[in-house]
Amino acid sequence: MKNKLTGVAVALALVLAATGCGLGGGAQASILDKETLTIGVKPDQPGLGLRNANGGYEGFDIDVAAYVARKLGFTDFRFVPAPSAQRENLLRQHRVDLIFATYSITPERKTKVDFAGPYYVAHQDTLVRAAETGIDNVRDLRGRSLCQVTGSNSWRRVSEERKVAVRLVETASYSECLDKLKDGSVDAVSTDDLILAGFAGTEDRSIKIVNAPFSDERYGVGIAKGDVDGCEAVNKAITEMYQDGTAKKLLEKWFGPTGLNLTLTVPQFEGCG
């Protein structure tokens, strides 16, 4: 009998101790609990995420990711390439913790992963030669030649969704488009303004952005589904990035010289969880 009583008393004490420590716990694992952070980025997007000759990464996405990682308290973080088609899987299999890779928030993707941010809302816009005066918005492209990059959908927004009768000139890449634009074999290149500005950023002033945006591309921060704490912490870091002037500095550093109208205030967040 006493044995039993002692047993019960011990059990009670154990339960008390266990629950005492565990109250309020039980939430899902968060990136905030990690020692190091693995961040997926683009390796081949000038101005946004580009692997340089030393094997390091540079660009707006990289700088924003580093700022956010530091704000979350990480000193130890590394970048890995996140190919567009694998981004959801990388997050779901926890092979990367966050993704900063011109990763547009879409309802379909939101069923698989969560998004912090957006940290910037890019817009589809048009790049033309600086001497061009006849193109003020996307409708002015009627009858002109537009670069069609194989594998990209941007041209569809002009010729199919907007039904603007353009002459499509097929090319393999956006950098080839830029060459064609400058030598006059195409009149315009159309895709996300930050991507255009990134390609143009290192170039001379012979090309300009029309500044007639016709889509919203909300660049979000991909994060595993359910990590609401991590997502909210990233949002807070992004808010602070705009409040302390870092966002303005970074946007002007990477895209300033192209004459692109940059939005320097914090974007509307998607909401976590």
Partner: protein, 494 residues
Amino acid sequence: MSTPVTAPPAGAAPAPTPAGPGATPAVPPAAPPPAGRPRRRRTVPSRIRLLAGVGVAAVALLFTATALTIGNARDGLQVIGHDAGPQVVATADLYFALSDMDAQVANVLLIGREVGLGKGRQEALNRYDQRRAEASRAVLQAAELAIGDGTEQMTVRSVLDGLGRYERLAAQAILLDEQAGHPAGPPPQRVIDLYRQATDLMRLDLLPKAYNLTLDSGTIVRKTYEEESSAVTTGRGLVIVAGFGTILVLVGLQVYLARRFRRVTNPALVAATVAVAVLTVSAASLLTTEAAELRMANDDGFTSVLALSRARAIGNTMHGDQSRYLLDPERADTYEQVYLDKSQSVLYTPGGNLEKYYAGVDKAVGGYRDRPDFLGFLGAEAANITLPGQRAAVREVLGDYRDFQFQDRAMRLDVQRDQVRSAIALRMGPLAGAFENYDKELVGLIDLHKDAFDQAIRDGDDALSGWDLILPGAAVLAVLLILAGVAPRLSEYR
């Protein structure tokens, strides 16, 4: 309480007892005593005291566990139901008020000197003033919620500053527009230029911040809910274990006394055991109720109210985008695009242009039975039917949303056919009507969730009422009964 004494060594002869000869001392060997302590022989009264002491301690433990857990439930209900929850919902109205201010300015500029278009210029101006007052009130709520969070406070301040600038720009545009005295349609370029500054400030700067503020302050409620509801669940386990342990101790005491004193039952101890059992069962069931009410208030109430309020605010901005589309032909493409983007956040079906979207909405709404094949705010709502009457309300909202999109289509067709005047009449008349219907149904759906929220909070509060007396009363009663049960036995040794 008696000082804790170590158990007698195994096999030690028991002290003489009043039970008389023939009664076998039925004390099994106890757990080994802690090392280093001297072993002492124990007398029957000291054993009774020990057992009674353990019983009283167990009751105290049960009392503490229940009181603490009830405290968690009460805190949860307080924050979610009475403090932060309603305030967060109020900040969601900030976005709505701001967005409607901008929409009303666009309407004023679009109507010009015309009379007889929809509700007219004066009504638009009145609504502008009303929304401005609502926005100020909501900013105050947001400021209160932001206390203690520097980042949020900075956002609130910048919304306030921006609101001042917006009002100045809007007032200038309205004044200039009045002086121009233009017919319905796009106003003179200098008015458009001023309005562009105003609407860019509103749409690109203030509205995102207002939206983020609601998201941020919603965090308080989410965290409180997670912490308190997990504490209530854990606490309930603790209460059950403590209650069960107490009952075991009391039964043990009962059995011991029965064997020692040859009395079958000890009525006071039986009563104490029953009191503890009743207390445990009712506390556990109370805490089950509280966990359920917290969950209901959060999931079916708060979260849905917040999400649908966002959908409503975005819908209002879409209605404003329709006016802006007519007001500023040069930017018409941009306003049409943002209209589509916002539509897709409210109800998502794939499709890159409005033509495809209208068809998608028609198909999605027409095909909705149990499981929606669309996403967005309305998709999430339609996929999560938990309240009576919710499905019917969702159907109404969806039907009205489809009508609203059909009217939008008609308006844009007029513009494409260069019948701007007819498009404006449509915008101010049938389209505005379709929007109001949709908005009214959406508010009805939000109210359904608000009622569920209020009901859950009320039920949670009601269930807790009286426990300030019940709990200490039951605990004191149990302790007194234990003492009453052992006192006569102990007195036999005096």
